[in-house]
């Protein structure tokens, strides 16, 4: 006996994120492991490569859920399929993996010791922000997807009724009517001519004439049957999403790579640059990043060299500032570019160079800057560069500086930047 009552329920519109809560719980539980994975990922990523999710792998033993089960030892008898040449009583060397039990064959390349999953972009950024102690408002702004604006972009053959473009649709209809009726019109004119000819010799009641008249009737009917408007005549106004910001910016990263800057310092500096970049990405459509590293001389370098090369010797900060000034003059006219700069240093400089720096900054750099952020990664106060820069801070509103020992100190240097409603 079959009960034929059937119910079909369309669940597709129900929330698909039923697992979101559990996912959050999972991420919350393994916070520390994930944080470590994210920190590793940030080290591997470029400054400009922050705006996407991340594949994260954490040790499987941390995520395992223990339960009572047998371990290796004792004896077991199991049945397997596909015997080829074995006979009863054969002895075989024990295969590497104890066959048949808990056999999670991993031909995927996924190690059994690793639990791998993907963090979404939002989750990744959350972890990135976590140590930086950003105010919530700023976090939201940075994580928000760019707003877009609908702009007209020609016409499509597909759309919603309210977007129908009447003029184009009717023009198409007209063209189609002309094209489809043309052959019939030709035949009609031909036929009418013939009729005229025939009527000269024949009577109206003659079969030939009647036949021809019938044909003319048919042609007229065919012409009438070509529809006035058809679905494929329809044209719709097309609108596409376009991101709102349309301007461009250049971001200078300046870092002291003399021996005194260790890996930890560089790691802090990297996050500092990343944060500025993230801000710019939200504000400008096109961003160019210039890396300038310096010891006693300054060079424009690629990102790899910037973060990983290390030089010995002294430090002349003005060399970098001069180079930056030159680059601005040659390649980034302020009429077209918004210029931002972030400088990281441990504060060491040749004594008489610091005064030189202030001069270059006041004359050649600060007038063209949207924002200039300086961080000094050191536990030691009273470095001479700091003292000099303090005078700049009073003079220029768009200059910010901060002494940094841990990651949490980074944000204040940008405070003013993020306060602005629209940079």
């Amino acid at each position: 006996m079959v009960n034929k009552v059937i119910q079909i329920v369309d669940r597709r519109l129900n929330g698909k994120n039923k697992s979101a809560v559990n996912r959050q719980k999972f991420i919350h539980r393994f916070r520390s492991q994930i944080k470590k994975a994210v920190a590793d990922a940030i080290n591997k990523r470029g400054v400009t490569d922050l705006d996407k999710g991340e594949k994260v792998s954490i040790p499987a033993k941390d995520t395992s859920e223990p339960f009572f089960h047998h371990g290796e030892g004792g004896y077991r008898e199991r049945i397997h399929p596909g015997n080829k040449e074995f006979q009863q009583g054969d002895k075989i060397a024990r295969p590497e993996e104890s066959s048949g039990r808990g056999n999670e064959a991993s031909n995927s390349g996924e190690g059994q010791d690793e639990f791998i999953f993907e963090l979404t972009r939002e989750e990744f950024l959350n972890f990135f922000f976590e140590d930086l102690e950003l105010p919530n408002l700023v976090k939201t702004r940075l994580a928000a997807i760019n707003e877009t604006k609908k702009v007209r972009a020609g016409h499509t053959s597909d759309g919603i009724p309210s977007n129908i473009n009447v003029i184009r649709s009717l023009r198409n209809a007209l063209g189609r009517r002309i094209a489809l009726r043309a052959p019939y019109y030709d035949s009609l004119i031909e036929a009418e001519k013939q009729l005229e000819e025939l009527l000269k010799h024949y009577d109206e009641t003659d079969t030939v004439v009647i036949m021809l008249q019938k044909e003319i009737e048919q042609l007229k009917a065919k012409i009438a049957r070509v529809p006035f408007i058809d679905t494929f005549d329809l044209r719709y106004d097309n609108r596409v999403d376009r991101p709102k910001p349309v301007t461009q910016a250049v971001m200078f990263c300046i870092m002291d790579i003399s021996g005194s800057m260790g890996t930890d310092e560089k790691d802090i500096a990297k996050r500092f640059f990343m944060l500025l970049y993230l801000f710019l990405v939200k504000t400008y459509e096109k961003i160019q990043v210039i890396f300038i590293s310096h010891h006693t001389e300054a060079h424009e370098v690629d990102e790899e060299t910037f973060f990983y090369s290390r030089e010995t010797g002294g430090t002349v900060v003005s060399s970098a500032l001069n180079l930056m000034s030159t680059i601005i003059q040659q390649r980034f006219p302020t009429s077209q570019w918004n210029i931002y700069a972030a400088q990281a240093s441990d504060g060491d400089n040749w004594d008489n160079d610091s005064r030189e720096c202030t001069k270059i900054m006041s004359e050649k750099i600060m007038p063209y800057m949207q924002y200039y952020a300086y961080i000094e990664i050191t536990g030691d106060t009273n470095k001479n560069l700091w003292q000099e820069y303090l005078t700049l801070k009073d003079q220029w509103k768009n200059f910010a500086m901060q002494r940094i020992e841990t990651l949490t100190d980074i944000y204040p240097v940008f405070r003013k930047l993020f306060e602005k409603k629209n940079a």
Partner: protein, 497 residues
């Protein structure tokens, strides 16, 4: 062109699903399949992943482990390592089967036949399911559980709840009654009862621990004092009823995990049968559709291709081998029972005198109703299936340097292989046998669990982690004794509070 065809393209529509369902239901009825009413739910791939993560339950309380399942599957699915199974079916009344929107009409028809008629009739008629699960109230109960646990999170904090759930999950395979039948309750009753139970239980426990034993009792032999009187196999049940310091809400959570584990217990014991039965019927039903001229050749080719994949059994030395495929074995056995009934050979008459030549449908239904994997294989695994699968048995003794082939698919081996395979599906011997043995009520309230060793197999190294969870629930020290087959205690694990 045949005008009886239900459809000719592979696109599905709601009307088509109804049309196909009507025909499949009619044919299933003709074959005598007895089912719950069917509810088909159309879902997206994402929703299917949600369903996966919640171990196939339509509603589930929240816990990080379901999130873990979800992110794992999501990563594998995105990398293309995992296709989504096209069917999940809920043992409920009405029986809920999910259809994924990406599927073609053929696949939808396959799922309807497989899940909504195959599994459905199995759920309704197999003795384990009728005895141990209540399809009428499961959805209600899951909803009750979800709400209750959410309330607890609000009231007592997420961490508290998570800790209890973690510990219960560690023991959930030991939260089932194997012999005693649980009661059927709907959500309203459950809520009403829950309050009463809370008060009553607490008073009982206080009673148990209240008395400082009188002098004369103390002098009695320990045996009289033994508690529990008989070893208890349902560890979670024992904890729920007897753990001294659990709060009432914590007891209720223990109970929830235990009851859900009980609900899934029959499924764990009938994999081969359940999948074999469903596969046998989708194969039979869809072939009947074709025989009646309702579906096209293209439909059949697509169906057969996916059917063949489902019942593929890689050999032991294949890199895709991961044990015996329950679909393959189950389908082969069901098909073979039909063959034995319809076209018995002399061998069949010798091995299966009772069923050779009998009515196949009746015989098959009888088998479906009255067995579980272990007994089904013990009863029905035929020499032909053993030969077809080229089954052989391997004895793996850790004291020996080599493993031994103890039997192969020949005259001498059939009976032996059947017996070993049957044992292989005996949950009782796959899981360690661990029972509550004693509580030291006079002294420090240590809970003693006993592991009766089987085939000399030791417990896995993770045992200490599990014991920590037992300690958390019990609230006092816990020890576990491993008793060898020679009946002497050979190992004691201890975990202090």
């Amino acid at each position: 062109m045949n005008n009886k065809l239900l459809s000719e393209t592979s696109e599905w529509t709601f009307e088509l699903i109804e049309k196909y369902h009507k025909e499949i239901a009619r044919i299933a009825g003709n074959f005598g399949l007895d089912t719950y009413p069917v509810q088909l739910e159309i879902i997206t791939a994402e929703q299917m992943m949600d369903a996966y993560a919640s171990i196939g339950m339509p509603i589930v309380y929240s816990h990080w482990s379901f999130g873990k399942e979800f992110v794992r599957n999501e990563a594998r699915y995105k990398k293309g390592q995992m296709g989504l199974a096209y069917e999940i079916v809920i043992n409920s009344n009405p029986c809920i089967a999910y259809l994924m929107e990406e599927n073609t009409m053929t696949m939808q028809a396959l799922v309807i036949a497989h899940a909504a008629y195959g599994h459905n009739s199995f759920f309704k008629n197999n003795y384990l399911f009728t005895t141990w699960t209540s399809a009428d109230s499961i959805i209600d109960y899951l909803l009750f559980a979800k709400n209750y646990i959410a309330q607890c999170e609000e009231r007592y904090g997420e961490t508290q709840v998570e800790e209890i759930l973690d510990s219960c999950h560690a023991l959930r395979n030991f939260g089932v009654d194997r012999y005693k039948r649980p009661s059927r309750l709907s959500m309203q009753e459950e809520q009403a009862r829950q309050k009463v139970r809370e008060e009553y239980l607490q008073s009982q426990i206080n009673e148990l621990w209240r008395t400082i034993p009188a002098k004369e009792v103390l002098s009695k032999a320990k045996n009289d004092w033994q508690f529990p009187k008989e070893p208890q196999e349902n560890i979670l049940y024992f904890i729920e009823k007897n753990a001294p310091f659990l709060e009432p809400w914590q007891r209720e959570i223990v109970r929830i995990v235990r009851r859900i584990a009980q609900y899934f217990y029959p499924q764990r014991q009938t994999q081969v049968m359940n999948e074999g039965w469903a596969t046998f019927w989708h194969y039979t039903l869809l072939n009947q559709l074709y025989a009646e001229g309702l579906v096209t050749d293209g439909f059949m080719i697509e169906f057969l291709q996916s059917h063949t994949n489902v019942i593929h059994q890689p050999a032991f030395d294949s890199k895709y081998y991961s044990g015996i495929n329950p679909y393959a074995l189950g389908f082969a056995m069901m098909t073979d029972i039909r063959r034995i009934c319809e076209n018995p050979t002399d061998e069949d008459r010798h091995w299966f005198p009772d069923i050779a030549g009998s009515d196949w449908n009746k015989t098959l239904h009888f088998a479906m109703q009255n067995f579980k994997d272990e007994s089904f294989i013990g009863q029905y695994l035929s020499p032909k299936v053993i030969r077809d699968f080229k089954l052989f048995s391997i004895l793996d003794d850790y004291n020996e340097s080599e493993i031994a082939v103890t039997s192969i698919h020949n005259e001498r081996g059939y009976q032996y292989i059947r017996q070993v395979l049957s044992e292989q599906y005996n949950l009782g011997s796959n899981e360690p046998n661990i029972q509550v043995y004693d509580v030291d009520r006079k002294g420090d309230r240590t809970l003693t669990l006993r592991h009766m060793q089987y085939h000399g197999m030791p417990l896995d190294k993770s045992i200490n982690e599990v014991l920590k969870h037992v300690v958390r629930l019990w609230g006092f020290d816990v020890q576990l004794e491993t008793v060898s087959e020679a009946n002497s205690i050979i190992h004691i694990f201890e975990c202090k509070h």
